[in-house]
Subunit: 473 residues, 2 copies
């Protein structure tokens, strides 16, 4: 730990980043407050505007034992990018690392500084008919997306960030300020251990991510959507397999929406209507999206028509109802679930995954568990059936009849995660990563050997444990 | 190093694997001879038939300081799976680790023992309409594919092995015989550092890979092929971009074949004919393959017709000739190039990659380099344009007018790799990995920090450097 006073740390770091690059007091508020949960207190917030400044900050912090928490757009949900309550951690915001965004259209790749956001990246790519198709309910930075290995709703087609990462640049704490370049703008490169994977999903631990080269994709020229009601749990996977067999080249989303989830959104999000009106929302529905890179010119393919024909054949086999088309409206319903759930009360979020072959069974068992053991809680589950991810969110409603209490929440978390991990071969953090909010479960479920390796890796690049808000050792 | 005699090592290991599991003398020949290059001498060859036996072997070797070289089907091209000439290395063949091949059709995944071959895996998957679509000119084991991170001709559509690896099991040398389970049968799982990536592309160093869970894919119901002649180098990338824009959902291969490469195959492979006959083979051609998971039922799509229409529109813009259809014949030409090249003389293989935007320029510059500095050598280049990989192979022809000499080959390798690495931002090993045959270039081009990390990683799981034939430290 640092033996310097707060004033000495501030003075030392201000010398590096200049007065514009250092925030104090009320200016730090947005950097101290987690996107949805958690609040900390920073010693100061740094906003370096060059790699050289980041290197100098890393060197200075390594020399003086000052802790750094890298932060992108601070949109994460596990507290990994916010400082703790000690007031001893320096937030290193990448928000001014935005100078480089070099698009290589022919290579379908982009070299981009860590502080550029997903939305801005896609705005830059659009004139070239390209996009970075990770679809999320937030606008993170590229660095944050790598640190969290974000997945999102279109993973089944495009993969997660790791699948699209060609190269990565990081600044290490050991050797202090050293720049490590990992990979090049190449799709095939097998020249020893691929070190960049050590920093994907790192939650900002051990190194400061400063630049990446990403593979980007052709922006679709056509899409098709439908919201369908399956005839049974078993029918859901039959439908998915049939869809992958017949139209798998185009499948970009296969999202499950529980009745509770749809109802929460419909009841509480003003401009949203029930797509099944005048009938009530069903117990479960699936949002299907297809995308095609090309127009009809050479294929003659009308994607929506193909989907409609397919769904007609599925009627009475796997589906009993369907709302066709109007992708914007259907996605608006899907993306409004979180807002609707929050309106009901205090969400207790479970971002879990299981093998998709067991997803419907898991959801049913987990709902039964909540009904039996926590009958005053309300399940609002939705998720990504095709990739096995589910946001099994539970709401402590305003009208639950008893006040929110942390011990009950803890007991619920322990029960659900145990079911996911022990009974369903799943993951307690599918796409939000690990941070202070769920590090307990990392410590519970990571094997001693895995932790020994993680500790060894950390000791190689950050032996004093100065970087990040989580310790995987 | 071991202080035991050869007989003591053999006796100790025979106690573990039994007489059927240990080979000596002439029975070792196939395990000592590299697939294309190199020959070593093993102390003995072990063929354990269970995880428990592998663990016991690892423990015994760790205790006695005996070196192990894991070997799959021994099809690699960089010498990573063959023993050195010392006679002190024990080959650990995974050929009897074949008991597990559990297909989860609904999860589109398979848990498979390391010793199962690609061909056998695909035979098991076929009845379910699935496949593991890494397309190679060999039949490696699953373990070997992971250790080499194989890519192949369809990478642009399906990715490499790393992209399809959900979980991995390895036996470590430290703690001796410890089984490390990394990941589960999940597509979304972000729970700390993803350690399995440390062992992908490891060339068998540091740990013995014993089992994996792979994502598998829907076997295509339709495919379409064409062999086209571009109007210019610039047209090649224009054609690729147009194809990705219009028919990118289906693009599975976009392979470049130089005139020399086609001619070598046509001249020397008996059952092969020139698809351009009666005209001679052109200076350069591109093998295009499209695949669709579905039939025409819902899309109305005839894939070959779509490709033909597309190519019609490209005439005089980017292409000047095309041979349509007959995929089997066109792929036979593509896959016969290596055989044809070997018939000409001694191949000097360059498995390199560059950003695909620079691939045509690189090939032209590299051909010019050979013509200027090594005019007695003959270039037979072909490759994977869409992923930037190229087999820039050079032949020391029987009629070169001077005998093959190692110093000249070394000079050529240094020159070509320097061009790839320094001038074109490329890789000196795109898909064959690193082994004794090219470790020199790892030592030349890996940064000191990257090597320090690799050394640190190795020390965590194999501190005595007992496992594998390469040392990345």
């Amino acid at each position: 730990m640092s033996k310097l006073t707060v004033d000495e740390v501030v003075a030392g770091l201000r010398d590096i980043v200049g007065p514009r690059g250092l925030l104090l007091g009320d200016d730090m508020a947005a950097y101290e407050q987690g996107a949805r949960y958690g609040q900390g207190r920073a010693l100061c917030v740094l906003r370096p505007d060059s790699l050289t400044q980041v290197q100098a900050v890393a060197r200075w912090c390594a020399e003086h034992g000052v802790k750094l928490v890298p932060q992108g757009a601070n949109t994460g949900l596990v507290g990994a990018s916010t400082p703790d309550a000690s007031g001893n951690q320096v937030v290193l915001s990448t928000s001014r690392l935005r100078g480089v965004c070099e698009i290589d259209v022919e290579n379908r790749s982009v070299r981009v500084d860590a502080g550029i956001t997903l939305q801005e990246l896609n705005e830059r790519l659009e004139p070239h008919g390209l996009w970075f198709p990770i679809d999320l309910g937030a606008n993170p930075t590229v660095g944050g997306m790598i640190a969290a290995n974000t997945g999102g709703t279109r993973l089944i087609r495009y993969g997660d960030v790791r699948h699209n990462l060609l190269a990565l640049q990081a600044v290490l704490l050991e050797p202090p300020g050293e720049v490590l370049e990992m990979g090049r703008a190449l799709r095939k490169d097998n020249t020893g251990p691929d070190l960049k994977h050590l920093f994907v999903g790192s939650s900002g631990a051990s190194a400061i991510l400063t630049q990446a080269t990403l593979e980007v994709h052709v922006r679709p020229a056509q899409s098709a959507t439908a919201l369908v009601v399956p005839t049974s749990d078993a029918a859901v996977l039959q439908l998915l397999l049939a869809l992958e067999r017949e139209l798998g080249d185009f499948l970009s989303a296969f999202e499950g929406l529980s009745g509770h989830a749809m109802q929460a959104a419909i009841d509480h999000v003003p401009d949203l209507r029930n797509p099944f009106a005048p009938e009530p929302a069903p117990d479960f529905a699936i949002l299907i999206e297809l995308e095609a890179s090309g127009t009809r010119t050479y294929t003659g393919l009308d994607l929506q028509e193909a989907l409609n024909l397919f769904l007609q054949d599925q009627f009475e086999q796997t589906i009993e109802n369907a709302v066709i088309g109007n992708g914007r409206e259907l996605w608006h319903l899907r993306h409004s679930i979180s807002e609707g759930a929050r309106a009901l009360g205090q969400p207790i979020a479970f971002d879990v995954s299981v093998p998709r072959s067991r997803l419907m069974a898991f959801c049913r068992a987990a709902r039964a568990l909540v009904a039996a053991e926590f009958p005053f809680l309300h399940v609002v589950d939705f998720g990504h059936i095709a990739d096995g991810g589910v946001h099994f969110n539970v709401i402590w409603r305003h009208d639950a009849g008893r006040p929110y209490d942390a011990a009950t929440v803890q007991a619920l978390r322990d029960r659900i995660y145990a079911m996911v991990m022990d009974d369903y071969g799943g993951s307690y953090s599918a796409e939000h990563g690990v941070g202070p909010h769920n590090i307990t479960y990392y410590r519970r479920y990571a094997s001693p050997t895995a932790r020994r390796l993680a500790r060894g890796l950390r000791d190689l690049v950050d032996p004093k444990q100065l970087c990040g808000s989580v310790d995987f050792g």
